[in-house]
């Protein structure tokens, strides 16, 4: 067994139980991070959007579909254990 693993195991086994204050803070932090949306736990910060191609006043600077997909995946990954919420809206015909 490597020394590193020994140290990790030791730390795991000797760590004192979380204090009441620490547990409270962890609970508050969890509550701040997430929102219960009809039983689905979502990240408290989602991704706002406007309709494709009609809302942005600077057409030259709009993200491409590839960038948009990258944004989705980056945001979802940043949400940790929570689901990402994406807001969309109606588009012009």
């Amino acid at each position: 067994m490597s020394p590193l693993l020994l140290v990790m195991e030791s730390a795991d086994h000797t760590e004192a139980p979380a204090s009441k204050k620490a547990r409270t803070e962890a609970t508050e932090r969890q509550e701040l991070c997430s929102v219960d949306l009809a039983g689905v736990t979502v990240n408290a910060v989602g991704l706002g959007t406007l309709p494709a191609g009609v809302a942005y006043p600077e057409p030259h600077s709009r993200p491409t579909a590839k960038v948009f997909h990258e944004m989705l995946h980056a945001a979802a990954a940043a949400c940790g254990p929570h689901r990402l919420v994406v807001d969309t809206a109606d588009t012009c015909a």
């Binding site: 991070c33 949306l37 979502v42 991704l47 579909a65 989705l72 995946h73 940043a78 969309t88």
Partner: protein, 275 residues
Amino acid sequence: MRSAATKARTPLSPFVDCHPFSALHALERELALGSAGMARAPVVSTKSGMKRMNDESSGWRPRSTPAGAVRKSIEEAQKALCPTGTPLFLWSLHNADGYAAPGALEDALAEAVTCVKEGLLLHIGLCNATGLLVERALSVTPLLCVQNEWSLFCREAEQQRPPTAAASSKKGMLRICAQRDIVFVAHSPLGGLKARRGERSVATKQPVLGGLAGKHGASPQAVCLVAMLGRAAQLGARVLLIPGARTAAHTADSCSAAALRLSDAEIAAVMGPVL
């Protein structure tokens, strides 16, 4: 996470948009495509009832609302966002404040309720709503969320609703939602389109954000978002912030903000006293 100095040079942008798509529901299609294969697909909130006038327009305008318009828009959104035929998770009436005439809001929401019964969507919300409209809506259907503007530039949601408030007032919505167990969705939390245009900035509006950003190793925008969440918690409100962005780095920065933690004093430094 990027350094605070880097973030200061590349502030979060307010909105996501997709170029060069301009066809109906192109973004929704890209959302469905981009989410394919994700271990946990995003929860999509959508809405209808308004439109952009043209490619250069910065303002929303109400769509005409012929009979059946709500149902048609829900059917379109469900088809675009849920290609496998599953129901929409959440649909909101976009311009609730345009349905103030007696019976108008109730009729529109009754169409949405029918769509729920038929399995086209699961939950209903309101956007741009007043306190009175929320009460009227609740006589027709439960509301999962209300989406109104809330930011350092627009504080009416956070303010107390005075007894003499006009019917059109949107003041007090955070507390109204808390009392009714409705999620408050804050649009434009970093200043919206005006921030994108450079006409305003949360970092300029509240200079203390710069110092806190350096202290916490986060962007001023991320600190602003978590301060807003802290203020919402102080008011007992469940709040979902939906800042926009134009890059993957900005979206990741925004979403990771929820994991930051500020003290009550730091929240007060950003948000000021409870209104």
